[in-house]
Amino acid sequence: MSTMHQEDLWEDLRTTALLGTDRRPLPSATTTPALAAAAGAVDRTDPAAALLELAALVTVHRRAGLLPGPGPQPTAPAAPDERPALPEAAARRLAVLLSGRTTGANTTGTLANLAELLPQWLAGARESGYRPPPALVPALLDAARARSELRGDAVALAGPLGRWLAEQNPDWAYVRRTVTDNQAAAEERTWHEGLFAERVTHLTRLRRSDPAAGLELLRGTWSTERAEDRLLFLDALQEGLSEADEPFLEAALGDRSKNVRATAAELLSTLPGSALGARMAERAGTAVRLVDGRLLVTPPTACDAAMQRDGIAPKSPTGRGERAWWFGELVAATPLGHWTAGFGLTHAQLLDLPVTGEDGDEVDDSWRDDLREAWARAAVRQHDAAWARALLGPAPRRTGAARTESAQPAGAPAKLLAVLPPAERSAWTAAFLQTHGLGDAFQLLGSCATPWTPPLSTAVVAALERAAGSGAYPWSHSGVLGMTERSLSPATAPAVEALAADATPDSAWAETFGRLAGTLRFRAAMLAELAEGRTV
């Protein structure tokens, strides 16, 4: 009751203050006896001063008498997290990595951009099955909100607490759409409500675990998807591709969108037993024949409707002759088994054969290059390690001769390398570095599994040393250096430290090597902390 009067008096005072005591009289106090007594003692000679004094009185009265509000409906607590707590040192490390995200001013400091190390840490932590300190979970969710590639690991690590927080903060709505291995509830919702990138990720993951279910999911909404979305969804079918997908892909050859048709054709061509593969092999049989120990090339003279339906574009986008373009496309889409089985030769033998054009006995290098190029594309598409190995040739060796001695591999070597098993990939790249240095190695290094194997790491360090010795500037290798900080084996740290010590003091290379060594130690410590306790 008294509070009521007090609030009335306060509103009255405010109105008078807003209008001015020149225009409105002072309110008369009808309130609790104590307040009324104090208010009565106020000198009212000057109405303005009196108003301020009354207002001070009521303000203090209100503040001293504040009461709590009614309790709100509490939310249900988060499900308990049974995982063991992250070891102390690793928890501190996570805090540093997460704070590194925001200290943008420090990117030129003594360590690699810490944000680049966060993915490695998260993958390691997820694998080791720890529960993060709750106070770090909001920062973790913020980091993964900005970087979708972190989401799978971050959401798995954040666990039940992360999902509980996400229910209350719309900024973290992605959490419920992110699929982790032990959580199936998000799946339907992701596909129907998710953002495009999330849907692609979801489809890719589903294909990895259950290809048939993935195909069913896509088939369910296929007709309503936009053309550019259909293209990337189709691309996601690469994961777990099998004969079971062939009818769907064959139907997609009739799609309205040219790019969708081309992608469907490309996928079909990687299915060894597909009808499209058989049609391509038939065309390839006409285009390349084995005559007198030579491969005789007869490129197609037209791109008929059937070829176009099978994904061969009638117009060459490269500016090369149309017939050469059609030829390349059809060889690239031909199952590689066609050549070895059809001619009864190994890939190595096939690659050694001379190649001639349709008219003339002259060995034609341009057709030979076209053929190798197309085979290389086929090897990448069909994930054929034997062909990729043959096309790459032996790992380049450092010899006394000039570097031109080693034949340039056909196609994009980085793509061919990606078909090889990881160990072979690293070994080949290491040998390449010894011969060619860092200049052309960026993509090759990018195709190697991280962390790099010790031999590859050693080769990279040696190449960096040569680059430093040759007088090049570190920033001309900034791409490789950035990758090196993330990927170099921590065991290489002593060698890098030695380079830092040997470099001219205060030079750019001394700083580069010092920074790299610091990063390696940081990474080594980071992984050791996560391993700590896992073995106990």
């Binding site: 807003l18 209100r62 009461l67 709590p68 939310t75 200290t103 420090n106």
Partner: protein, 434 residues
């Protein structure tokens, strides 16, 4: 042997994340030579990029640092690195040595200055000092009178009437600075930022303060001290420490740093284990420097505190320390607290003593943080306190630590709501949420 600090403690001294990282690289014995410690200080030489190694010396009690490196960061990475090396224990920093001459002379100089500080400066000319004080009191009095009249003028014409608004408040604030009343000046500046809802209350309380100063000589001593300090009179630490002090085992309940372009301000809230008294220590640092007082939340420090006088003494200065800060025993890690209703009543009692008090340090027990759209609450199931809307994204940390279960929260309880500073989890571990 002395207790060595935890790595966490050392890192909390770091002015920024970059320094902490750089210090981590200097935390091995590699770059160091001639290191030693004697229980109150440690010293060593660190090999840098130059030919002469940097000489680093740290006095642990402050802590205070001295390093010959050119870094503007304070403490620099060398000081932090040396502390880290020392905190890792073992033989890396052998104990019981004598500091080398360069370290010893700095330590001796510090001690001398500290002693000078403890004995109040004897005024060279008491008559002149008295005259200066009188002159200032007169100027502040004139300033307070002018402010009171200006406030009344605005209310006379109406707060809504901008056309006849007299000189903008920025100019009035400048006049208060001239009148040597910095407390009034900063309150005048804040007038611009209040919402209509609060504006009359702020006018009224400022008017009350100015009026109170005009008759400060007639007020009871404590109230007069409160008025003087709010108007902007400061009391020197040495003078306070020369007076009565309170010795207790002080538990750090929370730490909050705030920074503007000129200054980093660190607030440390303490509670005496024996007396139950709350205390607030302030420390300041220039930008890029960590304030020189760093005791992490959850540490206990046996020390003498001298409180600034007033009706509700809270702000204090740190006097003699009896030993190093140590972590509070696990059984006492979570401080006892009160319900939301009791917390508001506590603020009410405080504001009855000091009408200008915005908030009062408070520990809440068994409260559940409930996120809401634009308005968070802390509830004990029956009643709820609103969380001050000015509280930042640290609120989500509070929610995460709670995970929907009741927790203990320390913060400031005031008329704008509750501002959380620290939350304790079920294991008694404290997390800063401001």
């Amino acid at each position: 042997m002395e207790e060595r600090w935890s790595t966490e403690h050392v890192l909390s001294l770091s002015p920024d994340a970059a320094s902490a990282k750089a210090a981590g690289k200097l935390s091995g014995p590699g770059p160091w030579s001639g290191v030693g410690c004697n229980g109150t200080a440690l010293w060593g030489a660190c090999k840098g990029s130059g030919s002469t190694p940097y000489r680093t010396v740290i006095e642990l009690a402050g802590p205070a640092y001295q390093c010959s490196c050119p870094s503007r960061k304070f403490p620099c990475k060398h000081a932090l690195g040396l502390l880290l090396l020392w905190s890792s224990g073992g033989e890396a920093v052998p104990a019981g040595g004598e500091p080398p001459e360069w370290a010893g002379s700095w330590l001796a100089g510090r001690q001398q200055r500290a002693e000078q500080q403890r004995t109040p400066r004897a005024e060279a000319d008491p008559v002149a000092a008295r005259r200066r004080a009188d002159r200032r009191a007169a100027r502040v009095g004139a300033g307070a009178q002018e402010l009171r009249l200006r406030l009344a003028d605005r209310v006379r014409h109406g707060l809504a009437d901008l056309s006849t608004a007299p000189s903008p408040w920025e100019e009035v604030a400048a006049r208060m600075v001239d009148a040597q009343a910095p407390g009034l000046a900063s309150k005048v500046r804040e007038l611009e930022s209040h919402t209509d809802e609060d504006l009359l209350a702020e006018y009224a309380l400022l008017h009350l303060l100015a009026a109170a100063y005009e008759r400060v000589d007639t007020l009871p001593a404590e109230l007069a001290a409160t008025v003087r300090s709010r108007v902007g009179f400061s009391t020197e630490s040495a003078e306070l420490l020369a007076g009565p002090t309170v010795r207790d085992r002080w538990l750090v309940l929370g730490v909050r740093d705030s920074a503007d372009e000129r200054l980093t301000t660190r607030r440390l809230w303490l509670r005496g284990a024996k007396t139950g008294r709350p205390a607030l220590l302030l420390a300041f640092g220039r930008p890029g420097q960590s304030p020189d007082l760093a005791i992490p939340t959850g540490q206990l420090l046996e020390a003498e505190l001298a409180f600034h006088p007033g009706t509700r003494p809270l702000r204090a200065v740190l006097g003699t320390r009896h030993g190093m800060p140590a972590p509070v025993p696990a059984a006492e890690a979570v401080p006892p607290g009160v319900s939301p209703a009791r917390a508001l009543a506590g603020y009410g009692e405080a504001v009855a003593d000091d009408p200008w008090l915005e908030s009062w340090p408070t520990v809440l027990t068994g409260v559940l943080p409930v996120p809401g759209h634009g308005r968070w609450q802390l509830t004990d199931g029956k009643e709820a306190l609103s969380i001050d809307t000015a509280t930042g994204p640290g609120l989500w940390k509070l929610a995460a630590v709670s995970a929907g279960r009741p927790v203990t929260v320390f913060g400031e309880c005031g008329h704008r709501g509750f501002t959380p500073v620290t939350v304790w989890d079920e294991n008694g571990r404290a997390t800063g949420v401001s």
